[in-house]
């Protein structure tokens, strides 16, 4: 391919002479049938429309024309006149040194350094990263337009043999740093971190703009299938296949090094893994960041996040509780277990691909994760979860769990304390009834679903069990006018429930007791 140097100014005074010179050189260097030419604009200071017409004429015979090393000034001209849309134009890259610069973040594709007070540079691992950089810039722009606070790189630079993208990031500190140096801010961090997470997951992405995480997860499951017992492998693939397509945004690497506090603003960075998908994928990566990667070797997290494994585990559990809006441990564990399935799948695949099976420590780690994964697969039937439905063993000891699950939802809608106590009483009476009679002397499960509707705000709580048919409404109300000595002890539960809510209905349907309580707030 011919390489032609452009220099100085090209305008109507010299354009025909320069064109002649270029054509002469092409005649000498072109090989037969060649269509490509590279114009090195490193020394080009200015180009007028007469010069641009020269470029267009050369392009006619050399449609694969590239202009490289373009200064910012010339690039602006090319961009303004629409040339960057027609011809491949590459800017000249500023050279940046990271010698002695503080490392402030590290992700899957690169490392972020602070280069001065206002700016950071993300240096990509991949030497040929221009496409990655372009991708990250595009998705960051998309996220910003969709309302996610993030930083967009404004310049691409050379850092040694790698490329870097430069961002403005003033006085910013990552949440990892805050958690490491100011542990008393844990709860504040959880609140902000989860607030941003909910915002991301609440963002609908136009079709085709971001990769679908389900496709990626399917490829992991397919890869792992060969390393698992047949039945477990098939189940893993099925569980991922059954996750429905979801057009909401997920970040894909949402740990505390990628969330920055800049002045009073919480910013999301490291956008290259931005995708769409079900939130369980995100939770899986979060589990890995805070627990999974360092579950076998607790020291790992310190190197990566700067805080210890205990802090990581506490932050994860608190964040998951806040995300699910509940203190109900049964619910939190249920969702954590689903996240762990995908988390282990990802880690085992990664370890195997990094030749983990060829070293003893690698094998030990893979075996450890695999045991956990197989155990989880055994007891899991779906990776989907809901915020308003709880499956729980119907035993009296679980009463506090059920009430805390219902209370979490009531709190989120600002339910007044008195109504909350009334609902709590009704929930207790029904749940204890199921626990005492539905399956006795065996044990079984109950499902509790809480729905909220508007106008007026009404809470509907549905209990489902598979026990013996029992219609509590068939029971006669006690006589509450009797004096103490004549009153029977017990038998008040169903009566109280009726009094605590506005409506109570019962249905027996295909082996299920379905009891519904409704209360207007």
């Amino acid at each position: 391919m011919s390489v032609i140097k452009l220099s100085g100014r090209i305008d109507s005074n010299n354009s025909s002479r320069i064109e002649a010179g270029i054509l002469e050189q092409l005649a000498l260097t072109d090989e037969p049938g060649t269509k490509a030419v590279e114009l090195d604009a490193g020394e080009l200071e200015y180009i007028s429309s007469a010069g641009l017409r020269v470029l267009l004429r050369i392009r006619k015979t050399h449609p694969d024309m590239v202009i490289r090393n373009v200064s910012t000034e010339v690039y602006d001209i090319l961009e303004m006149t629409g040339f960057t849309e027609m011809i491949k134009v590459e800017k000249a890259y500023r050279v940046v040194s990271i010698k002695g610069c503080e490392e402030i973040g590290r992700g899957a594709n690169g490392t972020i350094y602070r280069i001065d007070e206002d700016n950071v540079v993300k240096v990509y691992n991949n030497a040929d990263a221009l496409e990655d950089i372009q991708h990250e810039r595009e998705v960051a722009k998309l996220a910003l337009i969709l309302g996610i606070p993030t930083a967009i790189s404004y310049d691409v630079v050379r850092v040694g043999d790698s490329y870097g993208s430069v961002f403005e990031l003033l006085n910013a500190r990552s949440f990892s740093k805050i958690l490491s140096t100011e542990p008393e801010k844990m709860d504040w961090c959880v609140k902000e971190y989860v607030g941003l997470l909910k915002k991301i997951h609440g963002t609908v992405v136009p079709a085709g703009k971001l990769p679908d995480m389900k496709e990626t997860a399917l490829s992991w499951a397919g890869f792992l299938r060969d390393y698992l017992p047949q039945e477990a492998g098939a189940k893993l693939v099925r569980l991922v296949e059954e996750i429905p397509h979801d057009n909401h945004m997920i970040h894909g690497d949402y740990h505390t090094k990628n969330v920055e506090l800049q002045n009073d603003e919480v910013l999301l960075i490291d956008m290259d893994t931005l995708s769409v998908g079900h939130p369980v994928f995100e939770l899986a990566f979060m589990f890995n960041s805070f627990i999974g990667y360092s579950e076998f070797d607790h020291e790992i997290i310190k190197k990566f996040q700067g805080f210890d494994s205990e802090t990581g585990a506490t932050f994860w559990r608190k964040s998951l509780a806040a995300y699910l809006g509940t203190d109900c441990q049964t619910k939190i564990r249920e969702v954590e277990d689903k996240a762990r399935i995908l988390g282990y799948t990802r880690m085992i695949r990664r370890a195997i691909r990094k030749n983990g099976l060829s070293t003893e420590s690698g094998r030990a780690e893979i075996e450890f994760w695999k045991r956990e994964l197989l155990e989880l697969l055994e007891k899991t039937d779906t990776l989907l979860f809901s915020f308003n439905e709880l499956d729980i063993e119907a035993v009296a000891e679980n009463l506090a769990e059920v009430q805390s699950f219902v209370d979490g939802i009531l709190e989120s809608i600002g339910c007044p304390p008195k109504a909350r106590m009334n609902i709590d009483v009704a929930v207790e009476e029904i749940f204890i009834n199921i626990a005492s009679y539905a399956y006795a002397p065996e044990k079984g499960k109950a499902t509790v679903r809480v729905e909220v509707s508007e106008d007026p705000v009404t809470v509907t709580i549905t209990f489902v069990d598979h026990g013996v048919p029992y219609d509590p409404l068939a029971k006669k109300d006690p006589d509450i006018g009797l004096p103490a000595d004549e009153r029977v002890i017990g038998g008040l539960g169903v009566f109280m429930t009726k009094k605590m809510v506005d409506d109570m209905s019962y249905l027996y349907d295909t082996g299920r007791n379905i009891l519904t309580l409704r209360k207007k707030l």
Binding site: E397, I432, A484, R487
Partner: protein, 99 residues
């Protein structure tokens, strides 16, 4: 969670209840009462810090009331509005002596 603070003075017994009186915690109060009511003629239940009561709690109160109707008297004190409402809908406001 239920905290019970017991104060015995001659034939007087005082129980301060704190937290939730529900199906899981009521047996604790029931056991405490059963162990303490022998010879007691004046029983006081202080509900100032009681946040919650369900039918299981009412059941224990009714049993205690029945015992105290024979032995002496029982008084329930400092009842919050929310709990008072539960006493009212269940007729307990007529059975108990509430101060």
């Amino acid at each position: 969670m239920l905290n019970i603070v017991r104060k015995m003075e001659g034939d007087k017994a005082g129980f301060a209840l704190e937290g939730r009186l529900d199906s899981v915690t009521s047996p604790e109060l029931e056991a405490e009462l059963r162990a303490s009511l022998d010879g007691v003629r004046d029983l006081t239940l202080d509900c100032e810090k009681l946040e919650y009561i369900s039918s299981a709690g009412l059941r224990v109160l009714l049993s205690a009331q029945k015992v105290m109707n024979v032995q002496g008297k029982m008084t329930v004190r400092h009842v919050s509005q929310a709990i008072m409402e539960i006493f009212e809908v269940t007729g307990f406001s007529n059975i108990l002596t509430i101060e």
